[in-house]
């Protein structure tokens, strides 16, 4: 099946989590091979999530320091 960009976008989150089924994964990957826009969206989203998980981001202006820390 040929996927449109819009369809790929709907599944980006699940694709990143590895929870799409094998067939859909294959379709998405085939789409990504030739679609720079979707590739960029995927990479940017994934990078944002990696950054989100990065502890340094969530020092929250030092507000974790008050509660039994330091």
């Amino acid at each position: 099946m040929k996927l449109e960009c819009k369809h790929v976008w709907e599944h980006i989150s699940e694709y990143i989590d590895g929870s799409v089924d094998a067939k859909l994964r294959e379709d998405i990957e085939r789409h990504l091979e030739h679609c720079e826009i979707c590739s960029a969206i995927l990479d940017s989203t994934r990078n944002i999530l990696i950054l989100t998980a990065d502890d340094r981001t969530f020092e929250l202006n030092g507000c974790t320091s008050g509660w039994r820390r330091n």
Binding site: K6, W9, E10, I12, S13, E14, I16, D17, S19, E29, L32, E36, I37, S39, A40, I41, L42, D43, S44, T45, R46, N47, I48, L49, I50, L51, T52, A53, R56, T57, F58, L60, N61, C63, T64, G66, W67, R68, R69
Partner: protein, 208 residues
């Protein structure tokens, strides 16, 4: 993981038979998680600190009711969420109760933003202070139900099932909210990700 669980079960059993001082050892690895959970809900440092303490005290008081069929961290997160909600209700009155329904049915635009001038996003761009601040702001401004799911899943790294359990919602709802939350973040942060750096393959290859 199993080892943590066995160790925790051992600690809990000993605490319940009177070795109360071991509670600190049990709770220490989760202090930050409890705080962040509270902060994601109340969005106020003092409230989050007070709430985190309350949640920990509550966990101690109710430790006997922890049955070990869920992970201790999930159980603790549930307590933290309840404490957060309690504080939010107190602060905002009954109006808060209906907010979830309203936001869930909200017809929003959850499509990602295309990067028009895309090469590759170098890791260095992600290190920029400016971007990190923008990300903090973007997370803080997410509507409550999306911020909560994103915090548990992408920040505290619970899996879909654990997130659903902690929030008392279905895994389907977790997936939908998570997707929307991530797309909202992507859209907000695209302006910070644009770069004219020379193209190179992303460290996070797209075939992952």
């Amino acid at each position: 993981m199993e080892m943590t669980r066995t160790k925790e079960a051992g600690l809990i059993a000993r605490i319940l038979t009177g070795e109360k001082e071991l509670f600190h050892e049990l709770i220490r690895p989760y202090e930050r998680m409890v705080y962040l959970t509270l902060f994601s809900i109340v969005r106020n440092e003092t409230e989050a600190e007070d709430g985190a303490q309350e949640a920990v005290i509550s966990a101690y008081r109710h430790l006997a009711s922890f049955r070990g069929d869920a992970k201790f961290s999930t159980w603790l997160t549930t307590i933290a969420i309840n404490e957060g909600r309690k504080r939010l209700r107190k602060a905002k009155g009954a109006a808060e109760d209906s907010i979830e329904e309203k936001e869930e049915s909200h017809e929003g635009d959850y499509t990602p933003a295309p990067l028009t001038d895309w090469r590759e996003i170098p890791l260095e761009a992600l290190e920029r202070k400016e971007l990190r601040e923008a990300l903090r702001g973007a997370v803080a401004e997410l509507p409550y139900i999306y911020r909560q799911v994103l915090t548990l899943r992408d920040l505290e790294e619970l899996n879909i099932e654990e997130t659903a359990e902690a929030l008392g919602i279905t895994t389907g709802a977790v997936k939908v909210r998570l997707h929307r939350a991530r797309m909202m973040l992507q859209k907000r942060l695209v302006p910070y990700l644009k770069t004219t750096a020379p193209a190179r393959r992303s460290f996070f290859g797209r075939a992952l």
